[in-house]
Symmetry: C2
Subunit: 363 residues, 2 copies
C-alpha cells in the first residue's frame, strides 16, 4: 500500500470513524481503524460489531493495499499535523506516515484480522433531508433509555402513520415525538439510540440528503461519502401514541426563556429531593410558579407571567423539565396537564410537530 | 440583618470567595460563606483555615447583622438570578432572598460559629502592579510541587536580590523564575502556590495596583475591594539561583510555535514511555529534531528549522517541555543545554526576565 492523501481529508475521515473504534471493546483489534485503498479512494472503517462506519476519501494511490492502525493514536497524530500532503506507505505491518516535517512509523495489525464490517446487501431505499433528520434527532434521541435491561427502550422508533414519518423515544419517564413530514415509503424501524448519536455527529453541518436503506435486521445511512450501518433493535415498541394527551384541565402558555430561568433557579433547591419541583398555575393571577423545598438548605418559589387556563398544580423532576424545555424550541411554549398522576405535555405554542411528555412525580 | 444589594455585586463577591469555601473541608461550617454588614458595606468571607478571602460590596443596609450560608448553593442561586436589586433579610438563622420574580429562604448557621478569619495586624506594606504580578504568577505558579511531603516546594518564593524582586517555583524536576522588576522593600516570602492560584483568579482582568502586607507568619494581598490572607510556608527554600545555567555547549533559537508543534506531535508517541522525547540539535543542517519511540504503537521524528550552535542531544519529559514552551511566551525561544544530565534552559530569545529550567531524563 502506497498513497498520498491530504491532511484535511484524512483528519475528517478519522473524525467520522474513530469514535466507534474508541468505545470500550473486548476485542483489541476493534480499537483499530481499517484503512483500505480501492481505485483512487481510501476507505477508513471502524466498528464495535453493532455499528459500523466507513468514510471514503480521495487519494492518489500508487500501490493498493490495506492495514489496521490504532484509531486514537492515528486521530491525535493526524489532527496535530499541519495542512498539506501526507504520504502513507506500508512495509509489512508498519505504516510509514511522512510529511515535510514529520516522519512516523505506526505499528498496525493485518487487515485480515479485522472483523467483517456490518453491511446490507439489499432492501428498501429512500431519502430524507439531512437538516430535518438532524433537528429531529436532536429533539428525540436523548429521551431514549440507556438501561440495557429494557433493550426496546434503548431504541428510537422511526415509523410512518397515514403517510407521515415520525421519530419517537421514551425511557418510560418521558417521551419525545417529532413528526418529520410526509414519506412515501412505509417504515417501522427500531434503531439503537447510540447509533443515532453517531449519525448526528456524522451529519454535522451538512445539508446533503441522507439515503436510508434497510432490511429486517439492519439499516444503512449514507451521508455524502460516509456510510453508517447498524443492527436494528429486536422487540415490539410500546404503542406510545395513545400516551400523548390531547386535552388539558390546566394549561399555561409563556415565554420559553422565562420557563427555563425559573426552572433552573428552582432546581438548585431541589437537589436534596432528587430534582422534585412543584408547578402551580393560577388562572386568576396569570402566574406560573415553581416551588422547591430542600429541608436542609432552604426553599424557593419562582414565578413567571403566563397565559393560563384552569388552576392546578403538578410535581415533576426538574431535570426532565429542563431537558424538555431545551428540546422543544420556539419562542413560546405551552405546558398542559390533567390529574396529578397523568402525563403532562410540552410543545412549541406555534407548532404541534414536536411533543414532549413528562410523567409527574407523586407529590 | 436587612439590606439591598445588586445581583451583579453579590454575584461577583460570591465568585471571589466561594472557591475557598468549596475546597474539601473537615469542618462543615467552612463550606459556608460569612455575610456581615458594616455601615453601608456587606462583606463576604470564606476560609479554609490556611487562606481567607473577604470581598466588600456596597449595599443599602437598613438593619445590621451577620449570618453564614452554604457557599455553593448561594453562588449557584445568585448566579441564576436576573440582574437587578436583591433584598436580603434575616429571620433567626433563615436568610430570605427576594427579587421581583423569586422568593427564597436559605437556611444559615449563626456567624458566631464561624472561625476567626486569618488577619494581619501590622507589618511592612508595599505595592506592585496587578498586571505584572498576574503575568509572573501565570508563568511561575504551575511549576510548584503539590507533594505535601515536601512542603517547602509547594510554595512560591518571592524575594529581592540587589533590589530586584523575583518569583520562583520548582518541583525539583523543573524550575521557573520571573524577575518582576525593581522593588524598594527587601522581601523573602514563601507563599503557598494554592493561595497564589486564588490570587490569580481574584486579580482577574483588573489593572489595579496590588498592596502586599506581611509579617513573619502571614501575607495579605489587597486588590480593589478584595483581601486575601494566607499563612506563609515554613522552611528554607533551596538556593535555586545556582541551578540556572548561564552558558551552553549546545543551543537552538527557533520560532516558539514550531517548537510547540513538533513537541506536541512527538508527545503522542511518548505515551508509553512516560512522555520521554529526545531532542537533537545539528549545527550542520540547522535542524532541531524530536524523536519519540513507543515500542507498541510506533515511532515519530519531527523536525523544525532552527539557528543552532553546537551539536548534541538530550532527553526530556515532553509534558514539562510543553508547559515550559507555553509559559515562556514570545515569538522566538532559545533552548540550551550542556551534558546529558545537566539542567536545560528555555527563555524568550528577546528577554532574560523569565527562565524555565527542565532537568533531563536519563537516556
Amino acid at each position: 500500500m502506497k498513497l498520498q492523501v491530504t491532511q484535511e481529508n484524512l483528519n475528517r475521515a478519522l473524525g467520522s470513524v474513530a469514535k466507534v473504534a474508541n468505545s470500550r471493546n473486548t476485542l483489541p483489534i476493534l480499537a483499530n481503524v481499517l484503512m483500505k485503498t480501492s481505485n483512487n479512494r481510501l476507505s477508513l472503517s471502524a466498528t464495535n460489531l453493532d455499528i459500523g462506519i466507513t468514510h471514503y476519501i480521495g487519494s492518489k494511490v500508487s500501490e493498493e493495499g490495506s492495514i489496521t492502525v490504532p484509531a486514537r493514536l492515528m486521530q491525535d497524530f493526524v489532527g496535530s499535523l499541519p495542512e498539506g500532503v501526507i504520504n502513507l506507505e506500508l512495509q509489512d505491518t508498519k505504516l510509514k506516515v511522512t510529511t515535510d516535517q514529520y516522519k512516523s512509523v505506526v505499528n498496525g495489525i493485518v487487515a485480515d484480522d479485522f472483523p467483517v464490517m456490518p453491511a446490507i446487501s439489499s432492501g428498501k431505499s429512500w431519502k430524507v433531508s439531512g437538516a430535518t433528520l438532524k433537528k429531529g434527532l436532536q429533539q428525540v434521541v436523548f429521551a431514549a433509555s440507556n438501561d440495557e435491561t429494557r433493550p426496546v427502550l434503548t431504541g428510537v422508533l422511526l415509523t410512518t402513520q397515514d403517510g407521515v414519518l415520525s421519530m419517537a423515544a421514551t425511557d418510560s419517564y418521558r417521551l419525545a415525538e417529532k413528526k418529520l413530514g410526509e414519506n412515501k415509503e412505509d417504515v417501522n424501524l427500531l434503531i439503537p439510540a447510540t447509533a443515532l448519536q453517531d449519525l448526528l455527529r456524522i451529519i454535522g453541518d451538512s445539508d446533503d440528503m441522507v439515503t436510508i436503506t434497510h432490511d429486517d435486521q439492519q439499516v444503512l445511512f449514507q451521508v455524502g461519502d460516509i456510510e453508517l450501518v447498524t443492527r436494528l433493535v429486536d422487540g415490539k415498541y410500546p404503542d406510545y401514541r395513545k400516551l400523548i394527551p390531547s386535552s388539558f384541565a390546566t394549561q399555561a402558555t409563556l415565554k420559553r426563556s422565562d420557563f427555563i430561568n425559573v426552572t433552573k433557579v428552582s432546581s438548585l433547591f431541589a437537589r436534596e429531593s432528587a430534582g422534585s419541583v412543584t408547578i402551580e398555575l393560577d388562572e386568576a393571577t396569570g402566574k406560573l410558579s415553581i416551588r422547591s423545598v430542600a429541608s436542609q438548605l432552604g426553599e424557593n418559589t419562582a414565578t413567571a407571567e403566563a397565559n393560563i387556563k384552569g388552576t392546578g398544580s403538578i410535581t415533576l423532576n426538574s431535570r426532565y423539565l429542563l431537558d424538555g424545555l431545551n428540546a422543544v424550541g420556539g419562542e413560546e411554549v405551552t405546558f398542559g396537564f390533567n390529574g396529578k398522576l397523568e402525563a403532562t405535555l410540552l410543545h412549541d405554542s406555534a407548532s404541534k410537530d414536536y411533543s414532549h411528555i413528562i410523567m409527574p412525580l407523586k407529590s
